[in-house]
Amino acid sequence: MNAVTLPVRHATRPRFRVALGVGVVIVVFWAVVAVLWPHLAPYDPELQDPLHRFVPPGAGHLLGTDQFGRDTLSRMLAGARPVLQVAPPATALAVIAGTLVGLIAGTHGGLVDEIVMRVLDAVVVFPAIIAAVLLVALSGRSVTILVLVIAGSFVPIVARSVRAATLVEREKAYVEAARLRGEPSWSLMLREILPNVVTTVLVEATSRFGDAIFAAATLSFLGLGQPPGSPDWGASVSDNRLWLQLAPWTVLAPALAIASLVVGMALVADSLRGRWEAS
């Protein structure tokens, strides 16, 4: 059966549109909040109030307050920023570095490929937590560290995908034609192959973006991410879970915020992946 007789099925699938729509709405919502939270938050998220600790959700504090008497809603809104400060640069870094590594390994093949892949293996096997502990200890907790650790642990994943795609392209006749006429290897990589593995790169980027949010939250939860007192969601879940029984809202608010953002991102990524892979 060939493509001419049978037009591609479901060129636009309604499922994609609904899921994409919901996902985009969620992600855009949090992106807007990340920028505009100072105008949206009813209180200063850092403001402590010893007289109003653990206030349950109600009129004064829609989502209650935490152990320091800080407003949970305000912190939840403010918490969108740290996550969105980490995930995009971490993803970008991982995708750029991973794409380059994958392209180099895939295009050259042979010994270069073997060495690169073994190094990547080592990076994968090397527990990211050790790297995080080290970096945090060396330079204090900061967004940069978080970005580096997450990007570093994603590079091998991106590189492997791009390499696999590159290996497929490399065998194609147009690359051989380019080699036959003597294109230098950087030109093969960037001019010939890269445009044709762009779908892989985009798919990786969306997947890694969702994973980066996940990873940022987890590392913050483990105490390896954000500076102390940050309204970051993962850190908030970790900080407040001691009071889970007494003040569940302090945990549930950031937990649900994480869940909504990662789910939104997953929906977007899934839909986009579906489209790109269909094309």
């Binding site: 479901h10 699938r13 499922r15 899921a19 073994r118 190094v119 293996d121 080592a122 994968v124 096997v125 090397f126 527990p127 990211a128 937590i129 050790i130 790297a131 502990v133 080290l134 200890a137 060396l138 969702g210 996940f214 939250a217 987890t218 939860f221 483990l222 993962g234 879940v237 970790s238 879970r241 889970l244 029984q245 569940p248 945990v251 549930l252 937990a255 994480i258 869940a259 990662v262 789910v263 991102m265 997953a266 929906l267 899934d270």
Partner: protein, 318 residues
């Protein structure tokens, strides 16, 4: 197949060597001093210095690495600097505990994910598929510590159906231990089901739409017969590699879950020894995890190769 195995196994020690160097370097760079940690902040600088010498920490980095490496390779893993217990027992016990948790999660994960993926794939583009896919996606996107916290509150604290701690009393029967492990395993399962189910779904769709499945329809088979006889196997074989990936993911998820459920597993040990610069323990944990990790990858590949007759019987280059 044999060549594939040999090549993969040959690469393993090299990778581990690289990892051990990385771990060693990282540990060197982490600030702090084990001797100070052992003696506390009140001990005088002189006492700390004496202990450093006693622990051999005053020797050059290269010497210490070489010693460690020699010991590790020859099976002398040494004692934990901080806990002064044999590292091998410590690490292997912890690993065993982690594996028990991982195995339980895996045992729960496989049938659930396969069923969901198959159901979604066979009914692809129907509402059933949409609901399953989106909920799988959703659950898989939520970090395990979030689901874990919620499970804890609901089932351990409010309903008291399950213990809050994953750690069973010493000498408890396996059933009791598994009961303790159910909640943490569940939070791992929730994390991974979506991913595996998606892979199964994708390969199921591919199998359902494949020429051979279509050919069976043309031969007059019912859809049910087609699914049972041809789709099932063809969609689960590719899923083995997804399961491999998820097993690695399970390992990664162990740290948070072990902490949350107070389970003394290898993940928690790794983290603890990293922060505390307990080098012998850290190295051994990293190595053991590395071996495990690579074995899982290998096992997934081998399983895939064994299950798929095309690769097993050498039609497709490995």
């Amino acid at each position: 197949m044999r060549r594939f195995l040999l090549r993969r196994l040959a690469a393993t020690p090299l990778t581990l060597l690289a990892v051990s160097v990385l771990v060693f370097t990282a540990t060197e760079l982490i600030p702090g001093d084990v001797a100070r940690t052992i003696l506390g902040r009140e001990a005088s600088d002189a006492t700390v210095a004496r202990l450093r010498i006693q622990l051999g920490l005053d020797r050059p980095v290269a010497t210490r690495y070489a010693d460690w490496l020699e010991g590790f390779v020859t099976g002398r893993w040494g004692d934990s600097t901080l806990l002064r217990v044999p590292v091998r027992d410590l690490v292997l016990t912890r690993l065993g505990d982690s594996l028990l948790l991982g195995a339980l999660a895996f045992v729960l994960l496989v049938p659930v994910a396969l069923t969901l993926g198959l159901v979604a794939g066979v009914n692809h583009d129907h509402p059933v598929d949409r609901i399953l896919s989106v909920s799988g996606l959703t659950l898989g996107a939520i970090p395990e510590f979030v689901t874990g916290v919620i499970l804890l509150v609901v089932f351990a604290v409010k309903l008291r159906w399950f213990p809050a701690s994953a750690q069973a009393p010493e000498g408890a029967a396996l059933a009791t231990r598994l009961g303790h492990l159910l909640l943490p395993a569940l939070s791992l399962v929730l994390l991974c089901t979506g991913y595996v189910a998606r892979h199964v779904r994708a390969s199921t769709v591919a199998a359902v739409e494949s020429p051979y499945a279509r050919a069976t329809e043309l031969r007059g088979f019912t859809r049910g017969q087609m699914v049972r006889r041809h789709v099932l196997r063809n969609s689960t074989i590719p899923a083995t590699s997804a399961l491999g990936v998820q097993l690695q993911f399970l390992l990664g998820g162990l740290v948070a879950v072990e902490l949350l459920f107070n389970y003394p597993g290898i993940g928690a040990l790794l983290l603890q020894s990293a922060t505390e610069k307990d080098l012998p323990t850290l190295q051994a944990s990293a190595m053991v995890l590395g071996v495990l990790y690579m074995l899982i990858v290998l096992a997934a590949d081998v399983a895939y190769r064994l299950l798929d007759p095309r690769i097993r019987l050498g039609a497709v280059a490995s």
